[in-house]
């Protein structure tokens, strides 16, 4: 559960900083940590971009009786030096050379970092915001995926429910990656040939998958995205996240990517993912309980969450001692504790 909360916290920070959503809509008082009495929630986020470390801190103050929330403190630093500071209702902007820029009274309900307009002297702040905008945080749910698109969506929804609308945007925006994506799908889905968006009515588009009728024929038959199996839908989304976004410097946060995938399909996808990291994809964080992913990535690249006696979730990069068993088997037996 705690692993998922990390994803949720990052998603909310992304919405708050890049979508202009108010603090009450993003961090409602009902979400305050139950076992702490503090009315202040603190979030910290560190990014390394082009060799520079960006540190972001947000403090949200809640009035539990009146069910109100406001930003009490917001700060962005680059290599320990300030780029933006909001405190006590006053925002201070700093230039790229860290000299003090304008001060202004700012709205307590929104992100000041998110509201700054791009100018030549604040390129570092904008770079941080753009990097945050390029996080794809998703828990795939093929049952929730819409079959058609009425407009292009620039962001993939939390459950990939708007995949067709996002594909419509991304395939036109990042056209270069879509050929590689379709080539990979041909290797992964039997008889698959290609995908296309077909106009229906005046605005709507339907995503259609074209399949060969059999291995030996060139005749094609079409299925709408809704008619694909859950496993095929997930394969389409997972491979598009890798090859459709290749070269766009996105970072992927995927919860349980193995859900709905056939056992034999998991390792080829993990291998493709690890190959692309640093070569068009910036970073990938997967949450998984699947033995295939645990055994392949857990040893050298795993992070292990556990609950300390104090009740707080902790994370370590030291894998449990397996003594010769596979990692997944060690976990299954509870011998990791």
């Amino acid at each position: 559960m705690e692993k998922l909360l990390y994803f949720e916290a990052i998603r909310r920070l992304q919405r708050f900083l890049t979508d202009g959503v108010t603090v009450e809509d993003t961090f409602p008082p009902s979400d305050v940590t139950r076992w702490l009495n503090s009315p202040i929630q603190t979030f910290q986020l560190n990014f390394i971009l082009a060799g520079q470390e960006y540190g972001y801190e947000l403090r949200v103050e809640h009035d539990m009786h009146r069910r109100l929330s406001r930003v009490s403190y917001e700060e962005l630093k680059c290599d320990g030096r300030p780029l933006f500071l909001f405190s006590e209702g006053t925002a201070t902007l700093f230039r790229d050379d860290f000299s003090t820029g304008p001060q202004l009274i700012f709205d307590w309900s929104r992100s000041g970092v998110g509201a700054v307009q791009p100018r030549p002297e604040n390129s570092r702040l904008i770079q941080f915001r753009q990097a945050l905008d390029k996080l794809v945080i998703v828990r795939l749910n093929p049952f929730a995926m819409d079959a058609e698109s009425r407009k292009e969506d620039m962001k993939l929804g939390a459950r990939a429910e708007n995949f067709v609308s996002w594909y419509r945007y991304a395939s036109s925006e990042f056209g270069m990656g879509t050929d590689a994506f379709k080539t990979e799908l041909r290797q992964s889905i039997d008889n698959f040939e290609s995908l296309s968006l077909v106009t229906v009515g005046t605005e709507a588009k339907v995503l259609k998958a074209h399949f060969h009728r059999s291995r030996d024929t060139r005749d094609l038959c079409d299925f709408t995205f809704a008619e694909l199996s859950e496993g095929q839908k997930v394969m389409v989304v997972l491979y598009f996240l890798l090859f459709g976004l290749k070269g766009q410097h996105y970072s992927l946060f995927i919860d349980e990517p193995d859900n709905f995938l056939a056992l034999r399909e998991i390792q080829p996808w993990i291998v493709a993912l690890t190959d692309l990291i640093g070569d068009g994809l910036e970073q990938a964080v997967l949450i998984s309980h699947h033995p295939e992913i645990i055994n392949y990535l857990g040893g050298s690249k795993g992070r292990w969450f556990f609950r300390a006696e104090s009740g707080h979730a902790r994370v370590t990069d030291v894998p449990p001692d397996t003594g010769g068993l596979s990692l997944s088997e060690t976990l299954a037996r509870g011998w990791d504790k």
Partner: protein, 72 residues
């Protein structure tokens, strides 16, 4: 492939891919972390895997493919 760690797996896989074998045809089993020596795990596991591999009907075909790859 039986590999001591993910780096070995990546190295061997790149080599095989350069020889024209698609990554979907390659399956890597990686030594679990722990107190044992990874090289010993590979040696120990090899005999079990080979026995199982030989039992399969497509063994001859695969061996032929690998021999062709390595003698190319």
């Amino acid at each position: 492939m039986l590999c001591e760690d993910t780096q070995h797996a990546a190295f061997a896989r790149y080599f095989l891919e350069l020889q024209g074998i698609h990554r979907r045809e390659i399956r890597a089993k990686i030594c679990p972390p722990g107190s044992q020596a990874a090289s010993q795990w590979v040696v120990d596991t090899y005999s079990k895997e080979l026995a199982e591999f030989r039992r399969r009907s497509n063994y001859q075909q695969l061996v032929h493919r690998f021999i062709k790859t390595f003698t190319h």
